[in-house]
């Protein structure tokens, strides 16, 4: 090896060493790619498991489920959970366009969740007033966590599945930093309720 080649080896070695020494400062400016940010949203039965969800509902009986949110957005987030109620013909949120259901919310929860942390609350509901007609049921009033709410949702008899079906569903919204308003976060969960025992 001649002297010129030795010079190149020395220069390269020095540059590599300089780069290693400067790495802590470079790390302050270079942001490394992290995983895709997302939020978890769940509903669990009263035993904290994905089973034993309330289904056959009696009037004036209290049922409970757990609702939870997991934040993996990279920053702390303020979530808004809308509780909505519908029959089989009313619209759910649109999964393809990521639009929320146009139905008015009955109730809401708000939660501040730290990054990589979860938040959970009990949702206890009771249907307190129902009107029954020949082929339909009108659910007039229900309570969610002690808040009494006017519902006025009706369902006709479902011949195939033999019941009056309603769905209690929850939409996840998140406070957007840029617009300073809550935006639908494209997540919803729900449970079907069969109101047959009056």
């Amino acid at each position: 090896m001649n002297l010129e080649r030795y010079r190149i080896v020395f220069a390269t070695g020095s540059l590599v060493l300089m780069f290693i020494v400067a790495a802590p400062s470079i790390g302050l400016y270079v942001s490394f790619p992290r995983g895709e940010p997302f939020s978890e949203f769940w509903i669990l039965g009263s035993n904290h498991l994905a089973e034993d969800y309330p289904f056959n509902i009696r009037v004036n009986e209290t049922y409970s489920v757990f609702v939870g949110v997991g934040n993996h957005m990279g920053v702390s987030s303020l979530y808004l959970i809308y509780v909505k109620f519908r029959n089989q013909t009313q619209p759910l949120p649109d999964v393809t366009t990521s639009q929320p259901s146009p139905l008015a919310p009955l109730h809401e929860f708000r939660a501040f969740v730290a990054n990589d942390a979860a938040w959970e609350t009990l949702l206890a509901f009771r249907i307190s007033e129902v009107s029954h007609y020949d082929n339909s049921v009108v659910l007039r009033r229900m309570s969610i966590n002690d808040a009494v709410l006017e519902v006025n949702a009706s369902a006709t008899w479902n011949l195939a599945h033999k019941g009056f079906y309603f769905q209690l569903f929850l939409e996840l919204w998140r406070l957007d930093e840029m617009s300073q308003s809550f935006q639908y976060h494209g997540r919803f969960v729900g449970i079907w309720l069969n109101v047959t025992s009056f």
Partner: protein, 159 residues
């Protein structure tokens, strides 16, 4: 006359109810704004590298009070709304103060870390540069000496 007295009582009670609702609504709005403002200060502190989980827990407490206030507002319990909202506003203000303080501390420690890292890197680069230069000079001298020590061999051509 009796009718007039009755009507005036009714008017006064309606007027008070109106003021109560307006007051309740404005205190609810204030409390909501206070919580959002405290949340923004918390996010700023988090961005500066502070641990904000304690602040978020307190904001959730404030939010629980706000939820009670909203339910009371819907059922017309305006006194309760004002009570819950003022408690919530108080928590929001304290969280904002603490978040600003945390931000100051985190920002200070972050800029200290930054200058330490910069100084360390600059010093490190200088030491490596100087070390490499000196080593290279020494190596070059030895290399040339070795080359010069080599005696050329003269081979005779007998043809």
């Amino acid at each position: 006359m009796m009718l007039l007295v009755f009507a005036s009582t009714l008017f006064v009670s309606f007027a008070f109810a109106e003021v109560g609702e307006r007051e309740a609504s404005s205190s609810l709005d204030n409390a909501e704004r206070g919580v959002i403002s405290a949340y923004k200060a918390t996010l700023k502190a988090e961005e500066a590298g502070a641990n904000v989980s304690g602040l978020l827990n307190r904001l959730n407490e404030a939010e629980a009070l706000l939820a009670h206030a909203r339910i009371a507002y819907r059922s017309g319990g305006f006194d309760e709304v004002v009570r819950y909202a003022s408690l919530c506003t108080e928590i929001g203000e304290r969280v904002k103060i603490d978040a600003d303080e945390l931000w100051g501390r985190a920002y200070g420690s972050r800029s200290m870390d930054f200058w330490l890292a910069m100084a360390g890197s600059v010093l490190g680069i200088f030491v490596v540069g100087l070390g490499s230069f000196l080593s290279w000079r020494r190596f070059k001298r030895r290399y040339l000496k070795r080359i010069l020590r080599m005696k050329p061999e003269v081979s005779s051509d007998e043809s």
